[in-house]
């Protein structure tokens, strides 16, 4: 590894700033594209957070500050921005940056299509942003865009304007970017793995990329179909698809939309789960407990994710309740497997708690609350009572929004040294963690209670029932505490980019291949690769020699256990020993 130390060049040393800009604009390097995704999605995330602060300011007390129309527009854009422009692309950012490194590839299978994905994503985002400027404002039918609210049926006082069309087209573009990205991820994982990197040796983050890619590939086109129908419905077909007055069916939209948007929940949370798994595998100083069961649980979640979409539509009366209830309960099983595996990994581990690990543990706690409230919802009678209350808002924010964000923040702290060659500041990181952790729990746990008390979602004003004003004020305070935490994070990013402590190629004693190259990696990623004999090649490189004589030491190395394997112990090769 010492040979790699001097390999990194500084491509922009002495070059002028425009050349640097041009280099980033025209890059097809998966690392640069990943970093651009990260910056863009982070900026959109801050915008989405600002929207949430506006909403919380409005709801802090009964009575209105902003009009219902503005509030509708704000909560619609909060959801759309956070889902389509923050959570999905942040996942894509880490998949772009880390996955090719983790499998020892030079780049993605189709680097230029990768760049195309990014620019389509940015253009789609710009379209959504520009809808603020058009007459009638942005889309304001919620991120779920249920017709007939999206249509001009003659009954709505202020029919949605061009902003709605821009929303539909923008999301089609974002979906197209996702589809191209997923094709790229899948082919890269299937075709570009380094020699020795069998499927059963893929790091868990790469496995989540694979399953996420399949989910995107098979579900996003259905959303595209729905959006296309929605667009034609508004422009030409005059409600023939979704307006009951003209022969359309509102439920058809809901079925098509949730056929995508339920898997989309897993598209957001699975990469976060993968990051957390990798982080646990490093900072507990143990191999992840039950590697194969983790993979199988992942595949199980992916498969079940396709047959539960209608649990979002229990109260419509248009779906077969017992099937979707049962299937939804089933998802708790693979999710529980993952939960217990993470806990078992920490059990008796030599745990250390840098910020990345703190966020991973925080992820477990948040995801536990989110997951269990999800099981509540799966029960049809409970769902009937809680539908469209703040309980739902609390539940889905706990799981796919804030748990996923914690996973991605863990990824930021974990891979920042690899991306920029510098550590993030740990003190600021811990301040960030505690502010955010306290803040989001204040927000979303109170929302669960508020929902149980019956407060409906998506309203800009409410009756001051006993306790509601207090709880709403607590939520608002929590939102501002969380925002303060994110400001600390933002400061930390710029502080660490400038003054961060320098990190070597393997600052965390990592186990996966991305730590086998310099920080940041050269354009071609690797000058040489270590021998890959297990799912933890760098661990083998570091300790394999010491452990190979230990009969109690076993690693999961591919076909171990089904009769045609290479044996179960770590066997570092000659070359690995020389390099180490």
């Amino acid at each position: 590894m010492a040979t790699l130390a001097g390999a990194q060049t500084t491509p922009y040393a002495g070059a002028n700033v425009w050349r640097t800009v041009l280099e980033w604009l025209t890059t097809v390097d998966h690392k640069k594209i990943g970093i651009m995704y990260l910056w863009a999605a982070g900026a959109f995330g801050l915008v989405g957070m600002a929207f949430s602060l506006v909403m919380r300011t409005e709801l802090a007390q009964a009575g209105t500050i902003i009009s219902a129309e503005t509030y509708n527009s704000i909560f619609t854009m909060h959801g759309s921005v956070m889902i389509f422009l923050f959570l999905l692309p942040v996942g894509a950012a880490f998949m772009n940056y880390s996955m090719p490194l983790q499998i020892g590839a030079l780049d993605m299978a189709f680097p230029r299509i990768n760049a195309l994905s990014f620019w389509i994503f940015l253009f789609g985002g710009a379209l959504l942003a520009m809808s603020f400027a058009v007459e009638g404002g942005t889309a304001s039918a919620g991120w779920t865009a249920y017709p007939p609210v999206t249509l001009d049926t003659g009954n709505n006082a202020e029919p949605p304007g061009a902003g709605m069309d821009m929303w539909l087209v923008g999301v089609i573009l974002l979906g197209q970017a996702s589809i191209f990205g997923s094709v790229n991820f899948l082919v890269t994982i299937f075709k570009m793995r380094a020699p020795g990197m069998t499927m059963w040796r893929l790091p868990l983050f790469t496995w989540t990329t694979l399953v996420t890619g399949l989910l995107i590939l098979l579900s996003t086109p259905v959303l595209a179909a729905a959006l296309v129908l929605g667009f034609i419905d508004r422009n030409g077909a005059e409600g023939a698809f979704f307006d009951p007055a003209n022969g359309g069916q509102p439920l058809l939209w809901q079925n098509l939309f949730w056929f995508y948007s339920h898997p989309a929940v897993y598209i957001m949370i699975l990469p976060a789960m993968g990051i957390v798994s990798d982080v646990f595998g490093v900072f507990t100083r143990r191999p992840i407990f039950g590697y194969r069961s983790m993979v199988l649980a992942l595949v199980g979640i992916g498969l079940l994710g396709f047959i539960v979409w209608a649990h979002h539509m229990f109260t419509t009366g248009g779906v077969f309740l017992p099937f979707f209830m049962g299937a939804t309960f089933l998802i708790a099983v693979p999710t529980g497997v993952k939960m217990f595996n993470w806990i078992a990994t920490m059990w008796r581990g030599s745990n250390v708690f840098p910020t990345a690990m703190l966020f991973s543990v925080g992820f477990l706690m948040l995801f536990l609350i989110g997951g269990i409230t999800g099981v509540f919802h799966a029960a049809v009678p409970v769902d009937f009572a809680l539908h469209d209350t703040y309980f739902v808002v609390g539940h889905f924010h706990y799981t796919m929004s804030i748990a996923a964000t914690f996973g991605f923040l863990a990824g930021c702290y974990y891979w920042f040294p690899k991306m920029f060659g510098k550590f993030m500041n740990e003190g600021l990181g811990k301040l960030h963690f505690w502010l955010l952790f306290i803040g989001v729990n204040l927000v979303f746990f109170t929302q669960l209670l508020l929902g149980l008390d019956g407060m409906p979602r998506r309203i800009n004003d409410y009756v001051a029932n006993p306790g509601w004003e207090l709880m709403n004020m607590l939520i608002t305070i929590g939102a501002f505490v969380s925002a303060a935490g994110m400001m600390v994070f933002l400061y930390n990013v710029f502080y660490s980019l400038k003054w961060g402590e320098r990190a070597g190629s393997d600052p965390w004693e990592g186990t996966t291949l991305e730590w086998a190259t310099t920080s940041p990696p050269p354009a071609h990623n690797f000058d040489s690769l270590p021998e890959i004999r297990s799912e933890r090649p760098l661990f083998d490189l570091r300790f394999g020699e010491r452990l190979q004589d230990d009969p109690h030491y076993h690693v999961n190395n591919g076909h171990n256990g089904n009769g045609h394997g290479r044996g179960g112990t770590a066997q570092p090769s000659e070359s690995a020993r020389e390099e180490g």
Binding site: L186, V187, K191, P221, L223, A224, I232, G248, N255
Partner: protein, 206 residues
């Protein structure tokens, strides 16, 4: 690559038929995954049409317009023509796998001519239909589905034409023919979607 010295691994006959005996390139994997996403797109549209057809009282065009009885002849003829172009397209792939660029170009030219004729016929179908896109669910699905299928046919034709020009310039041989294999798979998909799904549904659900 010392590929000639190493005997080929036995390849499944269906795989051999579809993509040849050479190892599959990343490009070919990419187009296969992409076709799966396209299948899901059309699955969404077709599911919408079936749902609308089964549950809607107002299915028929609201302006009273309908397809004239016996008017199915031309659509059936062009359906047969479009689907049968899968044969010359596959022959083009077979030809280039053997390195026969001339036979490939001839077969692709047949595909281009017939495919273009299909699109022209679709234009006249749209011209002669006595209902507009705003005349209820049947009319809207008719234009949406044939329109998106037509767009995919045009996309396929443009891609095939680009590869045809590359062939004229002397590109492609027995080893390097990913684009031709990809175009072939895509063309099969376009014909398949039309023959098995869109044509029977759009033309007989009225």
């Amino acid at each position: 690559m010392a590929a000639s010295a190493v005997p080929h691994k036995r390849v499944h006959p269906i795989r051999s038929f579809l993509v040849g005996d050479e190892p599959m390139t990343t490009g070919l994997w990419g187009i296969i995954f992409f076709i799966f996403s396209e299948i899901m797109f059309f699955a969404g549209l077709i599911a919408a049409m079936l749902a609308l057809h089964s549950d809607t009282l107002l299915w028929e065009p609201t302006n009273g317009g309908h397809r004239v009885e016996g008017d199915h002849l031309l659509p059936i003829l062009f359906t047969v023509l479009l689907v049968s172009t899968s044969i010359p397209m596959q022959l083009a792939a077979f030809a280039i796998r053997k390195g026969n660029r001339k036979a490939m170009l001839i077969n692709m030219a047949i595909v281009l001519v017939v495919g273009t004729a299909f699109i022209i016929n679709q234009y006249f179908e749209w011209e002669h239909a006595d209902f507009g896109i705003s005349d209820g669910p049947y009319a809207a699905t008719f234009y949406t589905l044939t329109g998106f299928h037509g767009a995919h046919v045009i996309g396929g034709l443009v891609f095939i034409f680009a590869q045809w020009l590359r062939g004229l310039l002397g590109h492609f041989d027995a080893k390097r023919n990913t684009a031709i294999e990809a175009a072939t798979l895509y063309w099969h998909f376009v014909g398949f979607v039309w023959l098995l799904v869109i044509f029977p549904l759009v033309f007989f659900l009225s």
